[in-house]
């Protein structure tokens, strides 16, 4: 698959690593060039410096023929806008949006976006860890 990753923070950099190791073609976009230092040496991917909400930046990343876009910057609203440009304007088949705000996450799902909410994942995990300790 041809995959665009918007945001090269911890999650972005690790997604790049995992997905390129799995043999996917990966392009990563970040407005700060220094962010790409997080990529491991020898990681096989293309880096583009720019704002992912800028259509020209997305075009230079090859959005017109991308199979997937993962919006994982640290800014919920940048992710939401990037994801919608990808899904609604360029009809990218697989689009995933990371959202920290749980209520926004629910609303976006109602609007038809595929989302991941790290806040609620963490809460759920901690909750289940507590339950496990209670049982044992």
């Amino acid at each position: 698959m041809y995959i665009i990753i918007a945001g090269c923070g911890k999650i972005g950099a690790n997604l790049v690593k995992t997905l390129s190791n799995d043999g996917h073609d990966v392009v990563v976009i970040d407005p700060n060039e220094e962010s790409f230092a997080q990529l491991e040496n020898g990681t096989n991917c293309l880096t583009i410096t720019g704002m992912p909400i800028d259509e020209d930046v997305l075009k230079s990343a090859g959005i017109e023929h991308a199979d997937a876009l993962l919006a994982v910057t640290s800014d919920d609203n940048v992710n939401i806008m990037t994801a919608q440009i990808a899904s609604q304007l360029y009809h990218v088949p697989h689009v995933v949006t990371r959202v920290y705000d749980p209520e926004k996450d629910e609303i976006l799902q109602q609007m038809g976006l595929t989302t991941v909410c790290p806040t609620m994942l963490t809460v759920a995990k901690i909750g289940s860890l507590l339950n496990e300790t209670e049982v044992s």
């Binding site: 720019g50 909400i53 020209d56 940048v78 939401i80 440009i85 926004k104």
Partner: protein, 224 residues
């Protein structure tokens, strides 16, 4: 009409001032406390209520009274935030009319396609009025008659432009070429050597016909 305004910077401030004079009921939201206080102190009262918070957060919009609002106008400096405020208002809270400000004129189409009712770009507006007041074709015709090789052109500075973030005296324009004006955030700047070019600036440039194409494509960040 009851109107929510998200963003209490300069645009928001004057918008509140204008709309309250027309007897609209304004509910302003800004994430910056100082900006909230400035508007509260200047206009706070029966017609203007101020809420400190994130205008892209559903709870904050509820606190501000979005269920009673007939319109939401998002005028922060961040396009993505304006988009999300408008989408929450329209799709989730059922607000009838949404208006967003964009800085980057390229985003007008994006916002419209993503469901915002009206999209305002001061940059595009000013650039448009420059275009209409000064018809380049006429200017160029005049120039051709008077000085055969001089032309006026305009171009938008791209993020990838080698000029992005540079001072004019660093750029090294070819001899005899001059940047007449830089349109930025709705204002036309008459530049000097210390003026820094930024992405999305609209540059009006006068110069030699044979040097212009190279400089224009540099401004636009096109790979040659």
């Amino acid at each position: 009409m009851r109107i929510i305004i998200v963003g209490g910077g300069n645009v928001g401030y004057y918008l509140v001032k204008t709309l309250m004079a027309e007897r609209h009921h304004i509910m302003l939201i800004d994430s910056n406390r100082a900006r909230c206080e400035r508007i509260e102190n200047a206009f706070g009262g029966a017609y203007v209520e101020v809420t400190h918070g994130d205008g892209t957060n559903a709870e904050c919009l509820r606190d501000a009274g979005i269920y009673h609002a007939e319109a939401l106008i998002a005028v922060t400096g961040q396009g993505q935030n304006n988009l999300v405020s408008c989408q929450l208002a329209k799709d989730y809270f059922g607000v009838k009319r949404t208006i967003a400000r964009v800085k980057n004129p390229k985003n007008i189409r994006v916002f419209e396609q993503l469901g915002v009712d009206s999209v305002i770009s001061s940059t595009a507006r000013i650039a448009g009025s420059i275009d209409s007041e000064l018809d380049w074709a006429d200017v160029n015709q005049l120039l051709t008659r008077k000085a055969t090789h001089v032309r006026v052109r305009e171009a938008l500075v791209n993020t990838h432009s080698p000029y992005n973030g540079k001072r004019l005296n660093e750029i090294g324009l070819p001899k005899g070429m001059i940047i007449v004006t830089v349109v930025r955030d709705g204002e036309a700047v008459i530049p000097d050597g210390e003026t820094v070019l930024n992405a999305d600036d609209n540059v009006v440039i006068l110069g030699n016909d044979c040097d212009l194409p190279q400089v224009i494509s540099n401004i636009r960040g096109e790979r040659v």
